[in-house]
Symmetry: C2
Subunit: 189 residues, 2 copies
Amino acid sequence: MICGRTPDELIRDIEGFHGFVAPGLVIGAFMVDLAREHIGQNTEADAVVETRHCLPDAVQILTPCTVGNGWLKIADLDKFALTLYDRHTFAGFRVWLDLNKAKAHPNVYNWFMGLVSKKDLPKEILIPAIFDAGRDILSVKPVTVRAEFAKREKKSKIAVCPACNEAYAAAQGTPCLACQGKDYYHTGS
Amino acid sequence: MICGRTPDELIRDIEGFHGFVAPGLVIGAFMVDLAREHIGQNTEADAVVETRHCLPDAVQILTPCTVGNGWLKIADLDKFALTLYDRHTFAGFRVWLDLNKAKAHPNVYNWFMGLVSKKDLPKEILIPAIFDAGRDILSVKPVTVRAEFAKREKKSKIAVCPACNEAYAAAQGTPCLACQGKDYYHTGS
């Protein structure tokens, strides 16, 4: 069982949320499972993932932590690793894909390192190889998350932008960031 | 119906994923519903939310877009707004909570602007007020998402850090960002 699921149930839950079975998400499930076991079932745990790719969804599917509820944070380190930590003491466990161990599972290693094309390593071979590897390719160590990173944000003071008349975080200054030219769109289609 | 759900089904799905019924998530559901209607059911849409609070989960629950699959992006503008856009043309619709309209729904307005305590406006009153307001507090406009924001990231080249022996994005330089001191934890419990 991985996070209380059979492999078929895990595949179904990944497809339902993520849209397709990404190999990194299956590895991520084993990572969450290992971290969860170390921290214990009775600890209220927050989570950090070290990449925006795949891993956030493993945590969101398999734990109560989500981006929107703030219990999952993304550290933009672009590494395939995650940490579950006690939300009161900040003590927890970091799990990562250990390259030295992964070398014993060439299909997984070659996919992870981008050494093989999708054509030469189709999912029908890769996904079973990941289930076969399971925790064998992972390492875990105790860590303590830095307080400034772990602590939950307080809601910032709200202002109304004089330019767009929308509410925004007052700390941005006046006008709001979007009206300062930092928006991601232009108006009109 | 909101995104194909009755209010009870919506509440159940929010609780299941987010852990509790956050008022912002119920408003977010009406926002996704309105944007979805404008862009049409047949358009493959990516999403942007303009805050990390609540709204990412509305999109993740009610659309195929997630943080982990990269179809949902977060623009850190700290505004209560979201955009669904055609992933090929980048044309879409931005929906935001319109303060002028919200004033006609004092409970929703006062909660949103932080003018009332949880004690004075319990969820038993606030959540029905949000369902009652529905789309009346929202505005929508056509936008085109800037190409540099909309385009999907290519996977970056992978390097192995000589300090920690983990894989990371080569663009970070050597050693990896974490070993440059930008990690979020210290080792040990």
